[in-house]
């Protein structure tokens, strides 16, 4: 391996191929990632729990076994709202400071069965909801937020500490940190990866999120969950893609450099021969972010009832304020929000017509300065409400060189097709910018 750059820079797919060829051991790869963590963690602070010896022991055990899947021996980080049977799960809450589950969440159980190494637990906003911020910093600029609530997942993967991580998204908690950190992030179709064993927030919205540094690596994760299925008809080759450009009526909330970078990318795509069409904004999506907020607030009131009953004093004041500050939601109002979302979903998927994907911004700009905000979920909440799959690719850059995400969106259950489209774009527009170069 001497001729390669540091091993921690390998993507999971690259490392997996080398392991398959017997040219790399899990122990070597995990060891390299741990070295990267050791070098960077004092600044980035992505990890809520890390036990290097335990990770190495898992890696050695993997090396001693026959390979069970392409994920065998590959280290994975877990947002600290996802239960793990051998590592604490604390939700960034003092209520769970001593909490050690004795079961894996469904999403982790599958990865473990496939032979993945649980590297550690990654920082999160309190309960992935609000209140206590994590200490995590953006690896591109330590004065900036990595975004959240899956803050550690975005920062650790983008910074080369671990090739893969899981997070969650109820508003914008996966796509936003992926965009701010320059990771490749995915929010799959709602419900396809069960939320079993993850702290819930709002059942209609809660989604497992995936973090990686390449689209191949997203496919590796999605495949572990049995969600890589034949895409028929096949996705057209570059540059025959047909993309629909969705600026949404919220476009004026995007910062000027983000708009400019987006327009610049459209120009590159157009020059290459990609067919672009502006998506007419369906009337049915009029107040989609408001409806998403109503559904999320209603969920929060139920989800955190046990903590409100047993340990209200240990909940952050801002968390409690967020729960208390609910809209006056009536049964009729909830039905209206949910039904309008259902109609919006159908309208969006119809409007998408024969496009190979919809493209938009992942976030209104680059990561803002400071750690007491995680940025806006303006361009995420609508897609979360619609339950459609989204991928963020680090293809847009601010004038100061900070990553901003290009968001690709598809119809529900077209997760694999969306990955194929993202892979095609990634291959045509490779980007090699990382925090380390």
């Amino acid at each position: 391996m001497g001729s390669l750059s540091p091993l921690w820079r390998l993507t999971a797919s690259q490392a997996s191929a080398l392991m398959q060829q017997g040219r790399l051991s899990s122990e070597q790869y995990v060891h390299a990632c741990l070295e990267r963590i050791q070098a960077r963690e004092p600044q980035v602070q992505a990890w809520a729990h890390l036990d290097p010896q335990a990770a190495l022991a898992q890696a050695k055990a993997c090396d001693a076994q026959p390979r069970r899947s392409p994920l065998h021996g590959i280290p994975v980080g877990l947002k600290d709202v996802i239960r793990s049977l051998d590592q604490p799960t604390r939700f960034n809450s003092p209520i769970y400071e001593q909490h050690q589950p004795n079961e894996d969440a469904h999403c982790m159980a599958v990865l473990r069965a496939k032979g993945a190494v649980l590297m550690g637990k990654l920082q999160t906003l309190e309960f992935a909801c609000g209140g206590q911020f994590p200490p995590t910093r953006n690896p591109w600029d330590l004065q900036r937020t990595p975004g959240g609530s899956s803050s550690g997942s975005g920062a650790a993967v983008a910074d080369g500490m671990v090739p893969l991580a899981l997070g969650t998204q109820t508003g914008g908690s996966t796509i936003r940190p992926a965009a701010f950190c320059g990771a490749v992030g995915m929010k799959p179709t709602w419900g396809r990866i069960p939320f079993d064993g993850i702290k819930s927030f709002a059942a209609h919205l809660d989604t497992v999120g995936l973090f990686a540094r390449s689209v191949d690596d997203l496919a590796l994760l999605l495949g572990a969950y049995g969600l890589i299925e034949p895409s028929l008809p096949p996705v057209p080759p570059w540059p025959q893609l047909k993309l629909m450009v969705c600026r949404t009526p919220l476009w004026d909330q995007a910062e000027a450099p983000a708009q400019a970078a987006f327009d610049g990318l459209l120009e590159r795509l157009r020059s290459a021969g990609v067919q672009l069409r502006e998506m007419p904004w369906p009337q049915e999506l009029a107040a989609i972010n408001t409806w998403q907020d109503e559904v999320m607030q209603d969920g929060g009131r139920s989800a955190f009832l046990p903590e409100m009953l047993t340990a209200p004093d240990l909940l952050h004041a801002d968390f409690k304020a967020k729960l208390a500050n609910h809209l006056q939601l009536t049964p009729a109002g909830m039905r209206l929000a949910l039904d309008r979302i259902a109609q919006a979903r159908m309208a969006f998927e119809t409007t998408m017509d024969d496009a190979d994907a919809v493209i938009s911004l992942s976030a209104p700009g680059p990561a803002p300065l400071g750690l007491q905000s995680q940025g806006m979920a303006t361009f995420n909440r609508l897609w979360t409400a619609l339950q459609v799959p989204c991928i963020s690719l680090p293809l847009l850059w601010s004038p100061e060189g900070l990553p901003m995400g290009l968001q690709l969106i598809h119809r529900r259950y077209e997760d694999h097709r969306l990955i194929e489209v993202a892979r095609t774009i990634e291959a045509a527009l490779p980007q090699e910018r990382h925090p380390w170069n």
Copy 2:
């Protein structure tokens, strides 16, 4: 308490009032329920786990504390797919034979915070899905199924072993056993009681279910979850109720005695002055049970992936066959099923118009003979798909004296209003039939 009938016959609300007055202790009540269990369990076999000393210890601890809520000191049974931190949770699967969670599911954590006593774990169909049947028998006729998959919950509550129990419903797993056992059962609006900590099956459908012997007791449970809210405008008093009769196009699948009993009840209601209207079947509900089945099967394939990967040999052959025997579900097919269900939901709620509730059968007949079937979910699956609240009241009886349920249905989020309607009907048409008299 000497003048009362056996204490185990008290409903939770009655016992709670006596406890509040200092006339009954939790220990006395739990002890009485344990006596009933001791007498009947050899025949009924409702319990998957029972530790009488642990239950009594909890009761004594409750008696030593200030009352925390109306549920304080009240024993509750849990379907054995709902995790409990101090009792095993086995899912009726040998994979989990030694499984002792160290956390409560959300629904149990709330009850515990309110002071309830966890009486024990109740028998279930394997993973509440299929395969291994529970040994539980119908308390009205030991040769018959209690229904399922919440078999133990229905049987134990109806038989006086415990006043309250929780179950789940993904197809008909709460309303069906409530009907077959003569319990008062409720499937609340989807998502209002988080499914956190319960083994999931199909995310779009999975719902926590409630079992009791009176509507007041359902209200006690619903109140614990913060779901008792003002019903404005108030529910009209008896007999000014307006009910809509929904036979569904599946009516010919109801057995003749069930149809006759239903018609007999309609006649009683009409004679009393209740306004009855036949509900026109909205075109949008055409194939609702088929769509429910597609969504359920798609869920099952993901939900049980960890068990399929790690312990396929310990899954019942019928369980595996059920998972493998899936329809050829495509992305477009899944979207169609989900969108048609969304449209059906709106159509049903519009058609309901100003009725105070919709009424139908809870099941196509009384509990069938034998323990290797749990009866049909014909009249449940559509309402589960619609995510609307349903209550089963034991107001219909077969010629041989077996209970059949009257099902009341309302719009989403009208759980409290539905309880008020059920309470009004229960008060006007009291029924005192129990397995013990």
